[in-house]
């Protein structure tokens, strides 16, 4: 039967294999991307040769790449790096130039021909976003200064990559003039699309998204439709669709809703990008992988060391402290996943053979797996080598102070109960951050100018991170969903004061057990209050409205008095 056959495909086999290898990789501390490339190598011609890169697999791989760039665009919030923008641009530009030169030199010395050498030089970019971001996030260092510098450099680097991608997507590149003309055409057309993207981000998208942000299905589909619109246009103009997706992302990134969209798009990207990395493995034949294995090892070693020193020199040059320079550099010693993206594209266009892609893949596998350990132990390594590096330390070097929430109050959900509490919190905390996924609420709060707001669903990790939940000193959650509050309680600091809401006694107990300092039960508090009034009226006469409430809320002791006195 047709339907049943639809599911048992190469694609399904890739996912299942990737899962198994992914779990194995996890046990050795390796990132998933390594597992995905290995999946392709194992299922492809190198080992089992049971899966080919066509049909659904090809589509998913293409989608993966498109979504990866789209997501990258969504993450390009100019506001995130504006504090350290100038040094970052300096570092990124020089790093790209120097390290491309180094990669060129190494490849040339290793004996690749000119075209191959150029492709390798352009493709060998250092600093793999998924690996750095993932590990630094896990280590809670992503918002530290070295983390910010790395992320900033990676973002600027992405623009360079987008241009390289655009160049490689062009059909004819045989002599210098054609390269020049192609590059110029690409840049002009891209500028138009880029301009459209920026203009729409300024004038059109804010209104559009303000209208739809509250409906999460519409929000999601329009976000994806926006990406496909750019993909379709760039495709029609025979430009790189990846670049189109990237520009679509950038225009959405500047909206207050971008974190929420990012959170919805990431899983789809994770899912498709798996297929993309596996498909790289699928393209490589057994001979390809081993064709340049010595070269790959030599190049990996030279480039890891070389790139570390390039980065160290550049960061140090901007006047940051030696420790910051060291950590910022040592995090970046792996070949970017984009080497493979660019490499795969160059294979498709016929500039290089698959054995060069094999060389790039081997280099990626080696540097990525090694650097995982290096990043994990970056502080320990620095402690060892500090005496040596101290010679570069001078008194003028200082780190920029980064502003981020710390010791602040986080309020989840803006409603009648939390609203009344905000002034009290604003009096006691430097920052009060309110998380809410309703556009009107967020705008109302921003109008008050007393509170910080994060637009989005608390369920989403990016949103919790944006409010820096784990460093908050006080957290108040107005959701009555027990599971969400339990999640909140696992993430907050042990010393934080946490107040959550619950509807029933059973849930309240669970939340107390999970570490809540106080569980608000709105209905119970209401019942206390109203029962107290009724008791007074029945005892003393008069009416509900007459009762003097100036003595403040009823005391705890009275709350269950009805129950207690009742003859049951």
């Amino acid at each position: 039967m047709v339907l049943q056959e639809a599911f048992v495909t190469d694609f399904a086999l890739i996912i299942v294999t990737a899962t198994v290898i992914g779990y194995l990789a996890k046990q050795t501390g390796q990132p998933t991307i390594i597992a995905y490339i290995l999946t392709g190598l194992i299922l492809g011609p190198v080992f089992l040769d049971v899966v080919t890169e066509e049909g659904l697999v090809e589509l998913m791989a293409e989608l993966g790449l498109g979504f990866l760039l789209f997501l990258l665009g969504i993450k390009m919030r100019f506001s995130d790096i504006k504090d350290i923008l100038r040094p970052i641009v300096n570092i990124a530009v020089l790093q790209t130039v120097l390290q491309t030169a180094l990669a060129f030199g190494v490849a040339w010395v290793l004996g690749f021909d000119l075209t191959e050498t150029i492709v390798i030089a352009l493709a060998t970019v250092f600093g793999a976003t998924p690996i750095i971001v993932k590990i630094l996030t896990d280590k809670d260092e992503i918002t530290s200064l070295p983390g910010k510098i790395d992320v900033g450099v990676l973002i600027v680097q992405d623009i360079y990559l987008v241009i390289v991608l655009a160049l490689f997507s062009a059909d004819e590149l045989t002599n210098a003039t054609e390269v020049g003309v192609t590059l110029a055409t690409i840049l002009v057309m891209m500028s138009f699309i880029g301009l459209f993207s920026l203009l729409s981000s300024r004038y059109f998208l804010p209104t559009l998204f303000r209208r739809i942000a509250d409906n999460k299905d519409v929000f999601f589909v329009i976000g994806i439709a926006w990406a496909f619109l750019f993909i379709a246009v760039t495709e029609h103009l025979e430009l790189s669709v990846e670049v189109g997706a990237f520009l679509a992302g950038i225009s959405l990134a500047q909206l207050p809703y971008s974190k929420e969209l990012e959170e919805r798009i990431s899983p789809i990207t994770d899912f498709f990008i798996l297929v993309f990395f596996a498909s790289i493995g699928l393209q490589i034949a057994a001979d390809d992988l081993t064709a340049y294995w010595v070269e790959a090892i030599v190049a990996s070693a030279v480039l890891m060391v070389g790139n570390f020193w390039i980065m160290f020199y550049l960061i140090d040059r901007e006047g940051f402290t030696v420790e910051t320079s060291f950590l910022g550099s040592i995090n970046m010693i792996q070949v970017s996943e984009f080497s493979l993206v660019v490499g795969a594209l160059a294979v498709t266009q016929g500039y290089i053979g698959t054995e060069v892609l094999g060389y790039l893949s081997l280099m990626a596998l080696l540097t990525m797996s090694l650097s995982t350990y290096v990043i994990n132990y970056n502080h320990a390594i620095y402690a060892r080598v500090e005496p040596f590096f101290r010679r570069w330390q001078s008194d003028e070097q200082t780190d920029v102070e980064l502003r981020e929430f710390d010791g602040h109050a986080v309020v989840v959900g803006f409603d009648g109960v939390t609203e009344g509490l905000l002034p009290l919190l604003a009096d006691r905390f430097d920052d009060v951050v309110v998380i809410d996924r309703n556009v009107e609420h967020v705008e109302e709060l921003e109008g008050l100018e007393r509170y910080e707001t994060v637009y989005g669903d608390f369920r989403h990790g990016e949103i919790r991170k944006a409010a820096n939940l784990s460093d908050a000193a006080f957290v108040l959650s107005s959701t009555v969903q027990a599971e969400i509050n339990e999640r909140l309680l696992t993430e907050v600091d042990d010393d934080a004061t946490v107040v959550v809401e619950a509807e029933t006694a059973a849930v309240a107990r669970r939340l107390y057990d999970a570490g809540a300092d106080y569980v608000v039960m709105s209905t119970q508090l209401t019942a206390d209050h109203v029962a107290e009034r009724l008791r007074t009226v029945l005892r003393d006469g008069g009416t509900f409205g007459d009762i003097d409430t100036s003595r403040g809320p009823v005391r705890d002791g009275d709350a269950a008095a009805d129950g207690g006195e009742r003859d049951v």
Binding site: F271, A508, V537
Partner: protein, 561 residues
């Protein structure tokens, strides 16, 4: 760059544009996906897209399975067993008959009957989100009926995937289906934990793991020859929901589902060819059965069970659409060439149409009650109210409490300890047992009926307290021409001021009351003038006491009367 990417661009851009329309009109999204399919149909190549659409079905059912909370299922079902069965028993044969009249063979008549009988969870429950969250009686009933319909649909998918409809073949399918589900439950209980543990917190890995489980079950269902829908459902059951450990994975699966579901519904629309008059006739018949006959049968069943006319009306009009499961059954039947093409087209058309009309009837459900069912069926109420209520001799100088939720019960207890007579007014027949046990005097019926108030002898009452946050009830209470002091409830302070002006002596605004109280507690906590531990101990003791006296329970107050 393949033509598939172009096809997906068409699908998502057209869906995007139509969703803007849906959003502007505040209508549900699914029918607009289908319309996007009609519009973009010509540009969407069927072959490759169908593969993706099937992943849409798989993820849709998978996520449905993930959301099923087995231990709670029987409680949810209990609410509507009778009504849902009545609906099936009356409507299915009726639909079958109409199908036969249209000249369909028995199998196609059966597809027709399924489409006429089952309601859509995605649309129906989506529209009632607020009512369900607030645990209003009709929200609860509708959710329960929808869920039962979904389970019936899954069972039907299982049976209909039999290659021949002999007793043996069908029994074999059912047997395999049960085994697959059992396997899923075993995995959920014993194996899923390892998947979580060894992912070491990586939600990405866990998500891929969960999808691998889905693929595993799809493969298994293929091996034993049952529909992949069952496999996807079972895979969902195998996933354990635990927000503290796998929230990111659950969100991720949700996003991927949303992506494929768009492809599924748009493709569905694209599969419809230009309709002939016959297709329109069949679709019209389906619409009448779904949007007219089904609500009528549901109202009758609910009234028979003792619900008031309003609850019955509101529940019924939320069921007047064709189920997305009927669409799944239809596309499966189309793929194996069993469904008549004109029936398929009619079914999709009728589904899109009823999904739109359903949100309109939902918008005007109160009007339907006030103008149509209320006047027609209101007389039946008196007898029912007499049967179900217990007031004893006519109380005087008493308190009338509207609503027997947590606030209502506390007030009843307060009256009892003060030795003052009281009468509770409550509209949920499911509460009768609790009322019998806990309240001296009660009237079961909708507070909108004059007779309910007569029964409560409100003319001689001292105080009337409404604990129900519904404007129509509030207005009704304020309209009472009585000497008693009137206390009502409202959700916001602006409305409260208005209600005080209209004659309420006090307005219960839970948010304000809770907020005042909370402010004091938080100030104390932050100043350190009260220890968190002491506060916690005091609150827990208090909860014990409340629970002991039955004053805390799962049923919140916001229940309609």
């Amino acid at each position: 760059m393949s033509e598939m990417i172009a096809a997906l661009s068409v699908i998502f851009i057209s869906a995007g544009v139509l969703l803007l329309v849906a959003n502007h009109l505040s209508l549900p999204t699914i029918p607009f996906y289908i319309i996007a399919g009609f519009v973009a149909g010509a540009f969407v190549p069927q072959e490759g897209v169908l593969d993706l659409a099937q992943w849409g079905i798989a993820f849709l059912v998978f996520v449905f399975g993930v959301g099923v909370d087995l231990p709670k299922l029987s409680t949810v079902f209990r609410d509507s067993e009778f009504t849902a069965s009545a609906q099936l028993i009356v409507l299915a044969p009726l639909g079958y008959g109409v199908g036969v009249l249209f000249g369909f063979d028995p199998l196609n008549a059966l597809y027709f009957a399924i489409a006429a009988t089952l309601s859509s969870t995605l649309v129906g429950t989506g529209l009632l989100e607020v009512e369900i969250r607030n645990n209003l009686v009709h929200g609860r009933l509708a959710k329960s009926i929808h869920l039962l319909d979904d389970f019936v649909a899954i069972a039907l998918v299982l049976v209909l995937s039999a290659s021949a409809f002999t007793a043996d073949a069908v029994a074999a399918k059912i047997g395999y289906g049960v085994l697959v589900v059992l396997l899923a439950l075993i995995i959920q209980r014993h194996f899923f934990e390892y998947l979580t543990r060894y992912a070491e917190g990586s939600q990405e890995l866990l998500m891929i793991g969960a999808i691998s489980l889905l693929i595993g079950f799809l493969t298994l269902s293929e091996l034993v020859g049952i529909s992949p829908v069952i496999g996807a459902f079972a895979a969902g059951l195998a996933i354990r929901r635990d927000y503290t450990r796998n929230l990111g994975m659950l969100n991720g699966i949700g996003s991927i589902k949303d992506f494929f579901v768009v492809i599924f519904f748009v493709t569905l629309g694209a599969l419809v060819s230009v309709p002939s008059p016959r297709v329109f006739a069949v679709a019209a018949a389906l619409v009448v059965l779904t949007a007219v006959c089904k609500p009528l049968i549901t109202i009758a069943a609910l009234l028979y069970e003792g619900y008031d006319v309003r609850t019955a009306t509101l529940t019924s009009v939320s069921l007047d659409q064709i189920s997305e499961f009927a669409l799944i059954i239809a596309i499966q039947a189309l793929l194996i060439g069993r469904i008549a093409p004109d029936l398929f087209d009619a079914l999709i058309l009728a589904a899109a149409f009823t999904m739109v009309t359903s949100s309109l009837t939902r918008r005007y459900d109160e009007a339907v009650f006030e103008r149509v069912t209320g006047p027609l069926l209101g007389d039946r109420q008196t007898r029912k109210i007499d049967e179900q209520s217990s007031v004893g001799g006519a109380p005087t100088d008493h308190v009338v409490i509207v609503g027997y939720g947590r606030v209502g019960r506390r007030l009843a207890a307060t009256c009892e300890s003060a030795g003052v007579d009281y009468v509770v007014i409550e509209n949920d027949p499911a509460m009768i047992a609790q009322l019998r046990e806990g309240a001296d005097r009660f009237v079961v019926g909708d507070a909108m009926y004059e007779y309910v108030w007569t029964k409560a002898n409100v003319g001689e009452a001292r105080i009337v307290v409404s604990t129900v946050d519904q404007r129509r009830v509030t207005d009704r209470v304020l309209d009472l021409d009585v000497a008693a002091e009137i206390v009502v409830r409202s959700a916001d302070s602006d409305e409260a001021a208005e209600l005080r002006a209209a004659g309420a002596s006090f307005v219960i605004v839970p948010d304000v009351l809770a907020s005042e109280r909370l402010e004091a507690i938080v100030a104390d906590l932050l100043d350190g003038s009260v220890e968190a531990d002491a506060l916690k101990t005091r609150h827990l003791t208090e909860l014990d006491r409340l629970e002991e006296h039955g004053l805390d329970s799962q049923t919140p107050d916001e229940r309609p009367i």
